[in-house]
């Protein structure tokens, strides 16, 4: 669903008054003036309701920094770490005519379910100076990047034995000692380079190792740290939580490095869509990306200066772009079922 023409005209007028240069189509950065212009539109429309998956304490840090940057604007964060649940919540609230999110940050598959129901505002990101690299779809803007790494327990696995690449996970010595996330997000991203057949063969080979599967990569990383699962495939930012507290976890970047970009979408039924748009834009700026990365440990690979961008420099990154997600949902479902079924033949 697109922004109504009249509203867009009003918004554009206000923005041009604040910063004419912000609409320059060739401009590839979101200027302060653009943000301030959108902020002026967002004021007086109530708090900005943000549905996202970060722990509440982390989100509170982001909200505090946002309020300091944009006085008079408040974020109200609602967490849903379940992945699919966050999209379902928006659908339910819209159908019930209740107050729903102004902005949702989640995986492309979640956002696409909303786009298919006409629940997401279509944006002309160029007019806001958003770099094309982070806005491949008119419905989404990249907000942060989840990076998958190979984890191992430093006390139980020697440096020499620690898995460094994908095939190392197939070594029989890791049978029954390997941890995976139940969602096939890293496998889906690998398929962007390997293709479906090779990825399916890899999933089946991994399944023969009888891996433990976890609902989230956070407890997976904890179990690697505790030594219950000596090796695993986890998320960098999830592993950093116990690592910062001293847990004996080592990580390495495989080749290719699968990533999952989390996108933000402005919800059409939101009461403060301008506020949602402002937050989405701000998270794609170096300032907003740094605040988010400092608070959550999850950085934005598409923004200069972030830690995750430095970490990924020179590495082969594997991921489908957001606009390719709808075409790959069935493959994603097949991968998910294969992991959940432990390698059995599933329909």
């Amino acid at each position: 669903m697109t922004v109504m023409p009249r509203k867009r005209a009003l918004l554009a007028g206000a923005l041009s008054a604040a910063a004419l240069g912000a609409f320059a189509p060739a401009q590839a950065e979101i200027s302060k003036a653009t943000l301030d212009g959108v902020a002026a539109q967002a004021k007086g429309k109530g708090p900005i309701i943000w549905y996202e998956s970060s722990p509440a304490d982390d989100a509170a840090k982001i909200a505090a920094a946002f309020a300091k940057r944009f006085p008079g604007l408040q974020i109200q964060h609602t967490r849903d770490a379940g992945g699919a649940g966050i999209g379902g919540r928006v659908i339910q609230e819209v159908q019930g005519n209740a107050r729903t999110a102004d902005i949702l940050t989640g995986s492309a598959s979640v956002i696409w379910a909303l786009v298919n129901r006409n629940l997401v505002d279509k944006q002309d990101w160029k007019t806001f100076g958003v770099p094309a690299s982070v806005s491949v779809s008119p419905f989404t803007i990249a907000s942060t990047t989840a990076v998958y790494v190979l984890l191992s327990n430093r006390q139980q696995v020697s440096d020499a034995d620690a898995p460094k690449n994908w095939n190392d996970l197939l070594n029989p010595k890791w049978a029954g000692k390997l941890g995976l996330w139940i969602r096939a997000e890293p496998q889906l991203s690998l398929a962007s380079i390997w293709g479906e057949q090779k990825t399916t063969e890899f999933i089946n080979a991994i399944n023969k190792q009888k891996p433990f599967v976890f609902k989230s990569t956070f407890p997976l990383a904890q179990q690697v740290g505790a030594g219950e699962i000596p090796v695993g495939v986890g998320l960098y930012h999830a592993a950093m939580v116990p690592i910062r507290r001293g847990a004996p976890i080592r990580f390495s970047f495989p080749d290719p490095v699968p990533t999952t970009t989390l996108h933000s979408a402005v919800i059409s039924a939101g009461k403060n869509r301008e506020g949602g748009l402002l937050l989405a834009l701000w998270l794609a700026t170096p300032e907003g990306a740094k605040v988010y990365e400092d608070a959550t440990g999850r950085g934005h690979a598409g923004v200069e200066g972030t830690e995750v961008r430095k970490l990924l420099a020179g590495k082969t990154q594997a991921e489908f772009t957001a606009d390719k997600v709808p075409a790959n949902l069935e493959m994603f479902e097949r991968f998910n079922k294969a992991i959940a079924a432990g390698g059995q033949q599933v329909k």
């Binding site: 699919a84 339910q92 956002i111 096939a184 976890f214 904890q222 001293g246």
Partner: protein, 570 residues
């Protein structure tokens, strides 16, 4: 015996019936609509049976059912054995320290099942489990003797979690049993075994059957422990499959249609078990033991079995209460999750506890949790008493339907109940603006727990002979006055048990709370979940430790209060 009740009884029945229809039928209708919607969202258009075919014709469905049945039967059997033995020892024998045991048996209820599972994972996981490591070192074993990430492991932990429920079901029944019947049997030359078989078991049959059926159904829908211990090892039961379809759906939105189709399967199980339940308790008059003739429960002397029994009960409490709590306490003192050993002692820190105490969200979450638990438990206890009184005593037209309605919510998985309640109150937002507040939690919990309350109240109500109430009525008392002055005081232990059980469960309920979580209704379990899923099990353990400590204080206070009340009455 008056069966149809007066106008007051009929009016009460109508009011209760309408309330239950509102609480129970509306969510069930939404469940049914959801199951035939192509997207699973009840308010979206379309009609299909494909959700049923996707669920029931899936290759993994027979194995899913088989695993669920084994899990449910095994957990129920073990919980019944332990719960019955404990209830008998504590209520009907001279077991030393039985008052303390009566208090302690409730304590595991204060532990959120997720934390109990985490605790047992730390104790019995194959590579780092505390008990496994000790046994390996002690006996020089090559591999761990126990693996908690297995079906027996899941059943063991689930049974431990259910023992307090079994105890609360059975303890009032043991307490209310007239010892004259046992004495008469013994005086007639019956052996102890014959007395148990011919007198005790038949007397306890309604409570045992009600308890077993209740636990069995709980085991069919429970998520926390199978989710924590089974899913990592790919051991799926129906509830974890529902969670998978809800939270990890590959399509980007929950597959509510398939979840609802599975919900109908739960309802089918309920109908079968409910029928069995009514068959068991059909001739309930046989089991009435509280009559107008006064009695004091007699305590059976254990004799030379006194101390062995105490030892066995103590071992149970060490396993069920102290070991998991001790490991959680240990985890709360660690900067990251690590097994207890001498090397880790240097890591001990109070950072988690200090952080917990100064966290502003904690105060809000605690206030919310206490309010929700208090209101929900009071409402369920009162509603259960009235429902039971109507169904067992008054028997007005529609009594059977009221009983069925009160029992039905147990078949609705917490996740699905949450979804249905959200729809109800989103639709009624203009009239009842409770979406996103703590009051939507209260409504959901009352709906969810009324099944437990009404079963427990029924089990006790059938044991009470109506002659006391008939005597009061003959003296001119109205039906409601009889309920308030005669029936309620007699079933008071059961009402108190319902209140405590619901309070403790509402304090720890997670799956429904997560589905109903909004911006203004954070509660302690969702805070705990926040820490756990956020990669901070040590902070999650800290919340658990404080939660258990608070409930222990509450139970101790309750115990003292009960003793004073009893003393005053005496």
């Amino acid at each position: 015996m008056r069966t149809a009740g007066g106008w007051a009884g009929r009016l009460t029945a109508a009011a209760i019936g309408l309330l239950l229809v509102y609480l129970v039928v509306v969510p069930l209708v939404l469940l049914a609509i959801s199951s035939v919607r192509p997207t699973g969202f009840p308010l979206e258009p379309g009609f299909t049976f494909s959700n049923f075919s996707k669920v029931f014709l899936a290759d993994n469905f027979p194995r899913l059912v088989q695993t669920t049945v084994i899990f449910a039967l095994g957990s129920t059997a073990l919980a019944m054995v332990l719960g019955t033995a404990l209830a008998w020892l504590v209520e009907r024998t001279d077991l030393p320290g039985r008052n303390l045991f009566r208090l302690l048996v409730i304590l595991p209820m204060a532990t959120p099942p997720v934390l109990l599972a985490i605790g047992w994972a730390m104790l019995l996981s194959p590579r780092t489990g505390f008990f496994n490591l000790i046994l390996r070192d002690l006996f020089g074993l090559d591999s761990a003797p126990f693996n908690v990430y297995s079906l027996p492991g899941m059943m063991f932990v689930e049974a431990l979690a259910l023992v307090p429920t079994a105890f609360l079901f059975l303890a009032p029944a043991f307490r209310n049993m007239d010892p004259n019947l046992e004495e008469a049997a013994m005086a007639s030359g019956a052996s102890t075994w014959m007395m148990i078989r011919r007198v005790l078991l038949p007397l306890l049959w309604p409570a045992l059957a009600a308890c077993a059926v209740f636990l069995l159904i709980v085991c069919f829908v429970v998520f926390d422990i199978p989710g924590t211990l089974g899913m990592p090892a790919r051991i799926y039961v129906l509830s974890t499959h529902i969670f998978y379809l809800t939270a990890d759906s590959p399509t980007g939105v929950p597959l509510y249609g398939q979840v609802s189709a599975l919900g109908t399967f739960f309802l089918l199980i309920l109908v079968v078990l409910g029928y069995a339940y009514y068959r068991f308790t059909r001739q309930s008059q046989k089991y009435r033991t509280i009559s107008g003739k006064g009695f004091r429960p007699r305590l059976a002397p254990l004799g030379r079995w006194r101390w062995p029994a105490t030892t066995v009960v103590s071992i149970y409490f060490v396993l069920a209460v102290f070991a998991p709590l001790a490991i959680l306490l240990w985890a709360s003192l660690m900067p990251y999750q690590t097994r207890p050993n001498m090397a880790s002692l240097s890591l001990i820190t109070f950072e988690n506890h200090l952080d917990f105490l100064k966290n502003a969200r904690l105060i809000t979450a605690t206030t919310h949790s206490l309010t929700v638990a208090f209101v929900a438990s009071t409402a369920v206890a009162a509603l259960s008493l009235v429902v039971s009184w109507l169904v067992i005593r008054q028997k007005p037209p529609g009594a059977q339907m009221i009983d069925n309605l009160a029992f039905a919510p147990i078949a609705i998985p917490g996740v699905m109940l949450g979804v249905a309640v959200v729809y109800v109150y989103l639709t009624l937002d203009k009239v009842f603006p409770i979406y996103g507040t703590i009051w939507i939690l209260v409504i959901a919990y009352v709906t969810h727990y009324i099944s437990f309350g009404s079963r427990l109240a029924n089990g006790v109500m059938v044991q009470i002979h109506p002659e006391l109430e008939e005597a009061a009525r003959a003296s001119g008392a109205s039906n409601l006055r009889v309920l308030a002055r005669i029936t309620a005081p007699l079933v008071w232990p059961a009402v108190a048990a319902i209140w405590i059980w619901v309070f403790a469960h509402a304090m720890r309920e997670l799956s429904t709370a997560l589905m109903l979580a909004g911006r203004n209704n954070v509660v302690l379990p969702t805070l705990l979940w926040d820490y756990w899923t956020g990669g901070e099990p040590t902070r999650a353990a800290t919340v658990g430790v404080w939660l258990v400590a608070a409930l222990a204080v509450f139970l101790a206070f309750w115990h003292v209060l009960s003793n004073r009340t009893s003393a005053r009455r005496a």
